[in-house]
């Protein structure tokens, strides 16, 4: 039943905010080492979906979830401690949100919370993850300066390094380039294509072209329902559903 290549498998999953049904009967598999992109207009449930994967959804007091999500075959609600889940499934938010501490401390924040104090391990993790997010060369001489002094694109790559430091399995991206200029956006997209060799990536975007550029498979969400999921190439050439077609051709959005 469960595809052995599946990183996440999602079965009959629903989310309610109070009376409002934000996500309905979602059945989906996300495969290891793919870039899975999610597109859809505002209020389609795509951010709700993303936040369900690492249980950030629990921070919304009125939210209720039904159904099952498992990571590598383990139920994320029953089989994993929440802190462990969130280390395995890192998230980069729409806006770059560095904490108001130094670059170094931002990167090692998650490690410190695990109780890791050994300076050698911390230094190694900082260099490795900053290299992986292509920020190392730009900041290696000012690791102790405030992260807030970086440019927007640099801050967003710092946020990537911050989750990479914890050696996650899955990277979630919530419209990560919505606040960035085209050049910074291109750099982030290049980075995504390299990172997918090591990690599974789920990318929520309201930029249809971005999904077409980087996605291996794409899902289209609309008002809490997943309308369609298929290979990205197929979705953008021969969408199965009329609403998908209307959305990607810009008839609504």
């Amino acid at each position: 039943m469960v595809d052995p290549a599946a990183k996440f498998s999602i079965r009959a999953f629903h989310v309610h905010y109070g009376q409002f049904s934000a996500l309905r009967d979602l059945n989906l598999e996300i495969l290891a080492n793919e870039i899975f992109t999610v597109i859809g207009p505002a209020n389609s449930g795509k951010t709700t979906f993303l936040h369900s994967l690492n249980r950030l959804i629990d921070l919304v007091p009125v939210s209720r979830c039904r159904g099952e999500i498992s990571l590598d075959g383990i139920d994320i609600r029953r089989g994993l401690e929440i802190e462990v889940l969130r280390r395995k499934v890192g998230i980069v938010f729409a806006l770059p949100l560095p904490l108001p501490i130094s670059i170094f401390e931002n990167v090692v924040y998650g490690l410190r919370m695990q109780g890791i104090r050994d300076p050698r391990r911390l230094n190694e993790a900082v260099e490795r993850s900053l290299r992986e997010s292509y920020l190392w060369e730009e900041v290696k001489d000012r690791l102790r300066t405030p992260a807030m002094n970086l440019s927007g694109g640099q801050q967003q790559r710092l946020c990537m390094a911050r989750i990479l430091a914890g050696q996650p399995d899955v990277l979630l991206f919530d419209e990560p380039t919505s606040g960035l200029d085209p050049i910074s956006t291109a750099r982030i997209e290049e980075t995504l294509l390299i990172l997918k060799k090591k990690y599974t990536i789920v990318l929520v975007t309201n930029n249809v072209a971005q999904a077409a550029r980087v996605g291996d498979r794409t899902a289209f969400f609309l008002m809490g329902d997943m309308i369609e999921v298929s290979d990205t190439g197929k979705m953008f050439t021969t969408p199965a559903d009329q609403r998908t077609s209307d959305y990607i051709t810009g008839k609504f959005g």
Binding site: L56, P61, R87, L97, P100, Q114
Partner: protein, 281 residues
């Protein structure tokens, strides 16, 4: 009447009212400084009173007030900050948090002399601490609790929501998030509240009347179970209870008390405005 003229007259009245509020403050300060400055000397600040308090210094009263205020802070700051953390970080909007908030409002409104009665009833009598620094500090501590909770709450609420989200998303537990990503950024605000609480505790008389304050003591307190003299009570005593004290000694005592309290408040205002300018989010 023409609207423009009406406006001019009305604004002139508003300005007059504002001056009526603010000018007396300046006048009070000026009078106290002008008439009290001549009494201030090393001897006045750092020696014991002599000759039925008509001569000598007010050292025991200054020291006593410091003891009381420090005791109150040791008790009230941890409790108040934790209560604020509860309200901002842990409670949702349920009956319990509403009850807690209502209680804080009421604690802030209880008359200071009723705190004195409470301290007498519970600490002096029930717990048998007697009239002592311990009883007085605890009473003052409970009295300044609302000040500390309220300002700590504001400080915690001013820390942006996303600091918490980011920290949790990086695998930090709830308490780690508060400890490492919320409290450090709320610290200046908490400090401001603490200093305001200090100022309040230093100036209050009624809560210490029956719980600790001594009219006159020939020696300094030796432990927290001793009584002590205190500045505000001493000012009350020498201005109403003891005849024949030189006017500049009275004004001098008022000046010392006022300086202590106003310096604390000034420090709080400075920290707050510095913090507001510095913060980047």
């Amino acid at each position: 009447m023409k609207p423009r003229l009406a406006q001019k007259i009305a604004f002139a009245f508003l300005l007059l009212a504002t001056l009526l509020v603010v000018l007396p403050v300046l006048v009070i300060l000026l009078i106290i400084v002008a008439k009290g400055a001549s009494a201030i000397s090393w001897d006045f600040l750092f020696s014991m009173p002599r000759d039925g308090m008509t001569a000598g210094g007010i050292f025991p009263a200054i020291l006593g007030t410091l003891y009381l205020v420090i005791g109150a802070i040791i008790f009230a700051v941890p409790l108040g900050v934790m209560a604020a953390v509860y309200l901002v970080e842990y409670s949702s909007d349920n009956w319990l948090s509403r009850l807690v908030k209502l209680s804080i409002v009421n604690l802030a409104g209880v008359p200071s002399v009723v705190y004195g009665l409470f301290g007498l009833g519970i600490f002096v009598t029930f717990f048998r601490f007697g009239a002592s620094i311990l009883s007085g500090s605890l009473t003052l501590g409970i009295m300044i609790l609302p000040v500390i909770i309220t300002s700590s709450r504001e400080a915690l609420e001013s820390v942006p929501r996303h600091f918490r989200t980011v920290s949790l998303s990086l695998g930090a537990s709830r308490w780690q998030t508060i400890r490492h990503s919320v409290l450090p950024h709320a610290l200046p605000g908490i400090l401001t509240g603490m200093i305001l609480g200090l100022g309040r505790a230093a100036g209050e008389t009624a809560p210490i009347l029956f719980t600790v304050a001594a009219f006159y003591l020939p020696r300094l307190p030796q432990s927290v179970f001793d009584q002590t003299m205190a500045l505000p009570y001493h000012l009350y005593v020498i201005s109403t209870q003891v005849p024949g004290i030189a006017e500049n000694v009275r004004y001098g005592t008022a000046l010392v008390l006022l300086s202590l309290v106003l310096l604390l408040n000034l420090a709080a205002i400075l920290i707050r405005s510095r913090f507001r300018r510095k913060k980047k989010w």
